[in-house]
Amino acid sequence: MSDADDTEIPETEGELDAEPESRDSPAEEAAKTTPKSLPLRVNNLRKEFGGITAVDGATFSVEEGSLTGLIGPNGAGKSTTFNCITGVHEPTSGSVHFRDEEITGESPHRIAQRGLVRTFQIARELEEMTVLENMMLAPGGQSGESATRSVLPGLRSGVVAEEESVRERAWETLEFFEIDHLAQELAGNLSGGQRKLLELARALMTDPDVMLLDEPFAGVNPTLEEKLLDRIHELRESEGLTFLLVEHDMDLIMENCEHVIVMHQGRVLDEGPPEQITQNEEVIEAYLGGTV
């Protein structure tokens, strides 16, 4: 079978699946031409670096409210795909749609503001800022980000009120991630794992719609990892968040993702429910080896 077939089918399937869900709000549905159920669609994405093709025509989409796994051997192009989606790299060709709008080549901050937020495979902390400051930075649309507002006497009280609520949320989130004892610590002094936690917590502070997580659990203690996963599921249920997760831990993928996309050499090799994926000979050969 060809790649094209492979990738076309799930997309239509996804659309079909989504139909019933979006029916419970007819007004909304009328307003949108495409069902809202595929918040993120990547079409024929290519990215070349010099002579190397890191992503080679990847096409896939992510369902609303899902926890979708993105797996593939090292160097398959997963991180690069993330970078292209989030504007860190400009794709060589292809398109990315978020909530039916094309966002290909938009700047990273615009994309993040739309609610499509990512974490980095290697955590990027604001090292000379405290953990709490890191957290409070994240929420979007803070009126105090306007210099005039935070300076002018009349307008500042509004900023202060807003800050108080942001601070409260930051504390809550830190508590959940069990790094509240580090709130006053400079982020630069955190250990590798602690940084990962902070990165995830901070991304959540932006109130994202869809989150792209690049190996968020690498280096995280298993006990904590389980907690985090619980939280992710919780967020999906309570706030309808959508997750696209790059992860190498197949057990984790099998247990938690309802949908998995397998990348290999820059293409989507297969996608479907985990059980189906693990049956695919090609996938086994390219990625899983004999281990699963």
């Binding site: 670096f49 190397i52 797996i71 593939g72 051997p73 090292n74 160097g75 398959a76 997963k78 991180s79 495979q121 290697i122 002094n189 955190l190 250990s191 590798g192 794992g193 602690q194 990962k196 936690l197 190996e215 690498a218 280096g219 995280v220 203690n221 298993p222 006990t223 904590l224 990892e225 389980e226 190498h248 831990d249 197949m250 990625y287 899983l288 080896g289 004999g290 281990t291 699963v292």
Partner: protein
């Protein structure tokens, strides 16, 4: 309770290749480790596990002279190496793969491997061959700059670089982080084999179950102090250890 041993110190006559005694170390004024004991006997395969921020990486860095040494002793073979420079320590036969930023991003893959053998006069071709055999992708990407490799590829390169010197003791800080499952298994197999060939291993892993399963002995480190020390399997079976550190 099956009771993993909480006594971290091996009897002195058993202390082997690497022996850390009552080590205090940290960064600047911040003391991270207090009174850490650790031993690796000749040919032994030792794993350190523990929560994030426990100081596992710090132990390794301290052995390699990259932290601010405060107190205690570190002996390797018969030589006390605490307070030494890393570039001297490597001559003693220690190899080290750090947790982060463990390749020279601006150098090509091949140059990275050559750097691994820097202290030798010539690049040992047979070891290079050996590394390429283990990680064929590296041979393919010889001329690519290491910084543009994928995370997993970089991890392989870092391993490869440390193997270039055929060290007596190889210290690996989370070697499986970010590796695809087949490679994780492969990596652990490789490490086993390296160990079988007589190289002692000291490893930090978050993939704790797998690591403890494979190692001879394990340490659990919490908040900069030894918590447990015992055979890998004993630790794996210990209810408390499982609950608190291995995710049930």
């Amino acid at each position: 309770m099956t009771g993993a041993s909480a006594d971290a110190r091996l009897p002195d006559d058993e202390a082997g290749l690497l022996s850390v005694r009552s080590l205090d170390a940290g960064y600047g004024d911040l003391q991270v480790l207090s009174g850490v004991d650790l031993d690796v006997r000749d040919g032994e395969y030792v794993t350190i596990v523990g929560p994030n921020g426990a100081g596992k990486s710090t132990v390794m860095k301290s052995v390699f002279g990259l932290t601010d040494y405060m107190d205690g002793t570190i002996t390797f073979g018969d030589t006390a190496i605490h307070g030494w420079n890393p570039e001297d320590i490597i001559h003693e036969g220690l190899g080290y793969v750090p947790q982060n930023e463990n390749v020279f991003a601006g150098l090509s893959v091949r140059e990275n491997l050559e750097m691994g053998a820097y202290i030798l006069d010539d690049v040992p071709e047979e070891r290079l061959r050996d590394v390429f055999d283990r990680f064929p992708i590296l041979e393919e990407r010889q001329e690519q700059t290491a910084g543009s490799l994928s995370g997993g590829q970089q991890q392989m390169l870092a391993m490869g670089r440390a193997l270039m010197l055929d060290p007596d003791l190889l210290m690996l800080d989370e070697p499986s982080a970010g590796l695809a499952p087949d490679l994780v298994a492969d990596m652990f197999d490789r490490i086993d084999r390296i160990n079988d060939d007589g190289t002692s291993i000291l490893m930090v892993e978050q993939n704790a179950k797998e690591a403890l399963r494979r190692c001879d002995r394990g340490y659990v480190l919490v908040q900069g102090e030894n918590r447990y020390m015992d055979d890998g399997d004993t630790l794996l079976d210990d209810e408390e250890v499982r609950q608190d550190f291995l995710g049930g």
